[in-house]
């Protein structure tokens, strides 16, 4: 690994001042992407800023009006075991239990998963489906960006030099709303998604009144498929509606062929995984009515 200087700012103001003075620095949360990339020589920062001692990046709080504030550096094992996340956002609690294995979850953060901006990142489709908003800060000020607009290319996102992700805001979920993330991997765990689908549906009076669908590993960025959501709205939750959304997901996908699967296989999986994720989300929505 190249040599670098390590610094661990203790406050957000300190981190932002340091980062704006050294925009070539790399930010370290759990390091489960960054340290692997530095060791492989793919990233060679001269300064590493360890941002996980900053209070705002460790916040995990729920408010019935504002929803969940999830600090960017909160590690998955905390999310997976959090009572409020398990109760209000069961799909998020489950997601935090499938990223890597137990020793990866001891470090890996959802903020790091998002900022690494891999097309196959597991958390991003679910964050999009749940309507999560990024709170971004720099020494110059703050802005918010919806997660569906965050990633711009493999490994790239809207963060400008000197900007960091502070937290994610996930809206409170009304009764009758269910969310789910499902990925297809050849093993049972510890593998990279061939295809993943994050979905959220809201039921009112027996019909779907709101729906969001997003996909992993089928395009250069995580893919928000508005057509799939539109295909569900106003319909009764059942195989006809699910099939329409599944076909919309299949049509929107522009995957590549690689060792994990061919284009045709991935497109087929898009439909299957989307349909199954919708079935699970609807079951949860019914339970929560």
């Amino acid at each position: 690994m190249n040599e670098f200087e390590y610094r661990a700012p203790q406050t957000l103001a300190e981190a932002l001042a340091d980062y704006s003075a050294h925009p070539s620095a790399k930010l370290l949360a759990g390091g489960t992407d960054l340290i692997v990339q530095m060791r492989a020589g793919r990233k060679t920062p001269d300064v590493v800023l360890d941002i996980k001692h900053i209070a705002e990046l460790n916040e995990l709080s729920y408010d019935a009006a504002k929803g969940l504030t999830l600090g960017a550096a909160v590690p998955c094992h905390i999310i997976h075991n959090s009572d409020v996340v398990k109760r209000e956002y069961p799909a998020l609690a489950e997601l935090a239990g499938i990223i890597g294995g137990t020793a990866i979850q001891g470090r890996a953060s959802i903020g790091g998963n998002l900022c690494n901006s891999s097309p196959s990142a597991d958390s991003i489709p679910l964050l999009i489906a749940m309507g999560a908003i990024c709170r971004i800060a720099s020494a110059k000020g703050e802005r918010t960006v919806p997660v569906e607009s965050f990633c711009t290319a493999p490994g790239r996102n809207v963060l400008e030099p000197g900007e960091l992700l502070v937290s994610l805001q996930i809206p409170a979920k009304s009764k009758g709303t269910g969310s789910y993330y499902l990925r297809f991997i050849p093993r049972n765990e510890m593998d990279i998604a061939v295809v993943g689908a994050g979905v959220e549906v809201t039921l009112s009076d027996g019909k779907i009144s709101a729906a969001r669908v997003a996909l992993a590993a089928v395009a250069p960025t995580p893919l928000f498929v508005t057509e799939a959501g539109a295909a569900l709205i106003g319909k009764e939750p059942g195989s006809e509606a699910f099939e329409a959304a599944a076909q919309a997901a299949r049509n929107a996908a522009t995957p590549i062929s690689d060792m994990r699967g061919t284009v045709a296989y991935r497109k087929h999986l898009c439909a299957v995984i989307t349909r199954r994720a919708l079935e699970a989300a609807v079951a949860q929505a019914k339970e929560r009515q």
Binding site: Y6, A8, G31, T32, I35, R39, Q105, M190
Partner: protein
């Protein structure tokens, strides 16, 4: 050369100080600086779990932790599992069930299994397999390891009762 940093940490309950370069992993610091060679290196990229230790109450792969991150942390390694000459029930069960051959994966399995049993004293086979999915073994075929964890869980429950 980047200057070394001083790190004050607690390892297996002992306040410990060491010097390291920021690019040295916690795994390298444990093995090469502190000569705590129980923790092993397999893949050096987070996949095999041979380097698993507990850091501030969480399981981590120490190859993916920078040495300076240990500042102020509480670290527990395989060296802290036995009490003097008295093996932990997990260690005893690993021996009795022949849950190791080359032994490279064993410290990681022991550290991870110990935390599992602390959180869930009577895990099902499925729960054990899922928890240990971050630990690879190229020798035993896993079944013996699962049996050893089950045996230790049973024994620990009997001691408590």
């Amino acid at each position: 050369m980047a200057s070394k940093v001083r790190v004050e940490t607690t390892i297996n309950g002992e306040p410990t100080e060491f010097l390291c370069e920021p690019r040295q992993s916690l795994l390298e610091c444990l093995r090469d600086v502190l000569h705590l060679t129980g923790t092993k290196e397999g893949c050096n990229d987070g996949n095999c779990g041979a380097c698993t230790v507990v850091m501030n109450g969480a399981l981590v792969t120490s190859c993916l932790v920078l040495g300076p991150e240990a500042q102020g942390a509480r670290i527990e390694t395989v060296e802290g599992i036995a009490k003097g000459n008295q093996l932990h029930p997990l260690q005893q069960a690993f021996l009795e069930e022949a849950a190791l051959q080359c032994g490279i994966c064993t410290p990681g399995f022991l550290v991870a299994s110990k935390m599992l049993l602390e959180k869930n004293a009577q895990p099902t086979e499925q729960e054990i397999r899922l928890w240990l999915a971050n630990n690879l073994c190229r020798c035993t075929g896993y079944d013996k390891i699962i049996r050893a964890v089950q045996k230790a869980a049973t024994q620990m429950a009997e001691v408590k009762a």
